[in-house]
């Protein structure tokens, strides 16, 4: 192994960690422990928002700082737990007044702003389903997700509405109410009948009886992408909070009074599980920065806000590495105790760079939209093998398996053998279905295992190592991108006959989206057309999903059944062996 293990023995932070003895914690763990910590609603029932906010207020801790929002212009807005309780109660009352029923979906299309947190918590309190969208999505991804999720309410800004919702508004048949955050709601930019968030909130009562949701009631809907078909809506229930809470302690070392900064976009599952829920259930203060990535600014926030626990992503870490800065030399980072990363595997160089730059290593961890919470992690008190995702959380059984012909799976005990990473179902934040797609959900399980679609190995010490995806899904800057969604939009262009989309390695983003496009007969390849296609894709899909690179191809390799062999395109792109070509039907290189 090229990188030396980072030992934790004798380290003060390790000795004081929430999880000091991994083996003992695993042996003694029960989910009941988390349930007891979180308690119930006064009248019975389990509600994520109550566990996150009201519980602390009831315990006399309402004056504690729950959320500090930092605007792009460095303006600060503080919310105590009592403030968050009041504001989320108001939003829950607003939903009731609008006639939104428990179980109906409330979508957000927002950047990092206070309204997002109020909406998330208020929606859960009302027993409705919270579904956040990524604000960098274009109209097509917004439409696909909101239609599937039957969003009854959308909270967004006038600007985002105009650019991303107005073009597809007539296709959103379930949408009854748009609520606009910010001053521009009355400027005529928004749709007729839209409410202004601030005004509507001010007109709502601050007292609300939190819905006595049951553990298995649907709470969250997070969309993710597969190789084929439309995005999948992963269903999560209120009981997931047990996992958010306890994994926050074990994998992020969270405790009461921590100043916690999760840089993930609120439009993705990390932004909810660890950007809202886990830090609040654990009584921490959330730092929320409205601005997009900005290295020097981030160093400043870490120092000025006295951040103790920082959860970020490989793309951001690699961008910070490029800054070539030693923040620890220019800033007082003495409060920083623990740094973690998620999104795609963190390369060992970046893990080690953490020590040079911050005096602390990054702790990589692994999970998915479907798992709802961290499943495998490098812990504060456990030695780090740079490049490894670590070991399964207490309460989580993980294995490397091989799918057999007969539908059964075989667990491999051989250290270093590559197989599919599988988890034993039953943890509270496991997804309970893909919305309206029972068959797709069922296919994720075999022989008593949840099959993650990620290929991995486990070494002799029990550490897991990511190898790759078993399908064609692209992981770019922490976002999962389904090639089909991108190909479909490209093929909507009049000049395009067929399109294939793959991920190619990128030193910063992990992978970037590259598209191969075959034009219709008689249409000439040109730079102008290439740019037009790029613009077309960006307009419909948004910057995060659209290809970064488009090349023309005379034809695309297909199987006899007509499926595009993305794997072959990728092998050629990377100069790898082309593998089994027995099913290859057509191909014009």
């Amino acid at each position: 192994m090229a990188f030396a293990t980072i030992g934790k023995a004798g380290k003060a932070a390790a000795a004081a960690a929430r999880l000091t003895d991994y083996d003992t914690a695993c042996a003694n763990f029960t989910w009941e422990m988390a349930r007891r910590e979180l308690g119930e609603l006064p009248g019975g029932g389990l509600n994520i928002a109550y566990a996150a906010v009201d519980r602390h207020v009831a315990a006399g801790k309402g004056a504690r700082l729950a959320l500090r929002w930092i605007g792009k212009d460095d303006r600060v807005r503080d919310f105590t737990y009592a403030d968050l309780r009041g504001a989320s109660n108001r939003f829950a009352n607003l939903l009731r007044r609008l006639g939104v029923k428990p179980g109906e979906a409330v979508f957000t299309l927002l950047g990092r702003q206070p309204a997002l947190y109020i909406v998330a918590l208020g929606t859960l309190k009302a027993g409705c389903v919270f579904s956040p969208l990524f604000s960098a999505f274009g109209p097509e991804p917004v439409e696909a997700r909101m239609s599937k999720g039957r969003g009854a309410v959308l909270v967004t800004t006038a600007e985002l509405y105009r650019r991303k919702v107005a073009p597809i508004r007539d296709r959103l048949t379930a949408l009854r109410q748009v609520i606009l955050v910010g001053d521009s709601a009355g400027s005529g930019d928004g749709p007729l009948g839209a409410l202004n968030f601030e005004t509507a909130l001010a007109a709502s009562s601050e007292s609300f009886e939190v819905a006595a949701s049951r553990p298995e009631d649907i709470a969250l809907l997070h969309f993710t992408s597969g190789t084929t078909g439309k995005p999948k809506g992963a269903i999560h229930v209120h009981e997931a909070v047990l996992a958010h809470h306890i994994t926050g302690q074990y994998a992020l070392d969270l405790r009461e009074g921590d100043v916690f900064w999760c840089t993930a976009d609120p439009g993705w599952v990390t932004g909810t599980s660890y950007g809202i829920i886990a830090p609040l259930t654990n009584g921490a203060t959330l730092i929320v920065d409205e601005a997009e990535f900005d290295g020097p600014r981030w160093f400043r926030i870490l120092a000025e806000q006295k951040v103790t626990v920082w959860y970020t992503a490989p793309t951001a870490i690699r961008l910070l590495m490029k800054l070539g800065a030693k923040p620890v030399a220019d800033h007082d980072l003495s409060h920083l105790r623990f740094m973690a990363s998620v999104g795609e595997p963190l390369n060992p160089e970046a893990v080690v760079w953490g020590i040079e730059a911050f005096g602390l290593p990054f702790h990589d961890n692994w999970w998915q939209t479907e798992t709802g919470g961290i499943m495998i992690a490098n812990f504060a008190a456990m030695d780090i093998k740079p490049g490894s995702m670590g070991k399964p959380l207490p309460g989580i059984e993980a294995a490397i398996v091989r799918r057999l012909e007969d539908g059964r799976v075989e667990k491999t005990e051989v250290a270093g053998a590559t197989g599919e990473l599988a988890l034993r179902p039953g943890w509270p934040s496991m997804f309970r279905g893909y919305l309206d797609e029972e068959e797709r959900y069922r296919k994720c399980f075999a022989d008593g295992w949840y099959l993650s679609g990620d290929l991995a190995t486990r070494d002799a010490d029990g550490y897991f190592w990511f190898v790759g995806r078993s399908d064609d899904v692209i992981k770019s800057a922490g976002h999962l991108i389904g090639p089909f969604e991108v190909e479909s939009v490209l093929m909507e262009h009049a000049a395009v006959a067929e399109a294939a989309v793959i991920g190619i390695p990128d030193p910063v983003a992990g992978e970037i989206v590259k598209a191969y496009v075959a034009l219709k007969n008689g249409i000439a390849e040109s730079e102008a057309l290439r740019k037009e296609l790029l613009g077309h894709a960006r307009r419909h899909l948004g910057a995060a999903v659209a290809p970064r690179e488009i090349v023309f191809a005379r034809g695309l390799p297909r199987t006899r059944s007509g499926k595009i062999m993305r794997r072959l395109l990728k092998a050629r792109e990377l100069g790898l062996p082309e593998g089994d070509l027995s099913t290859l039907e057509s191909d014009t290189k």
Binding site: R163, P296, R297, K322, K531, G535, R548
Partner: protein
Amino acid sequence: MTADDIRQILLEEIGNIAPEADLGALDPEVDYREKLDIDSIGFLNLIIAIGKRLKIEVPEKDYARLGTLSGAVSYLVARKRG
């Protein structure tokens, strides 16, 4: 190289990242990344492309200064002179 030349190059390169953008309507004082849907990876690619065109290396600590048209032009003009 004049400020106008540099502005022209900048607009061309923005157009390569976001070909769908209406650059004529762009307010030189606002952060164009948000207006034109250029995310951090797109912005990084833009800076690399501009650096190549102008044969200068933009250090990462200066990236934030290139977030508006007017800021970028004055920064790049100064760099070309320096």
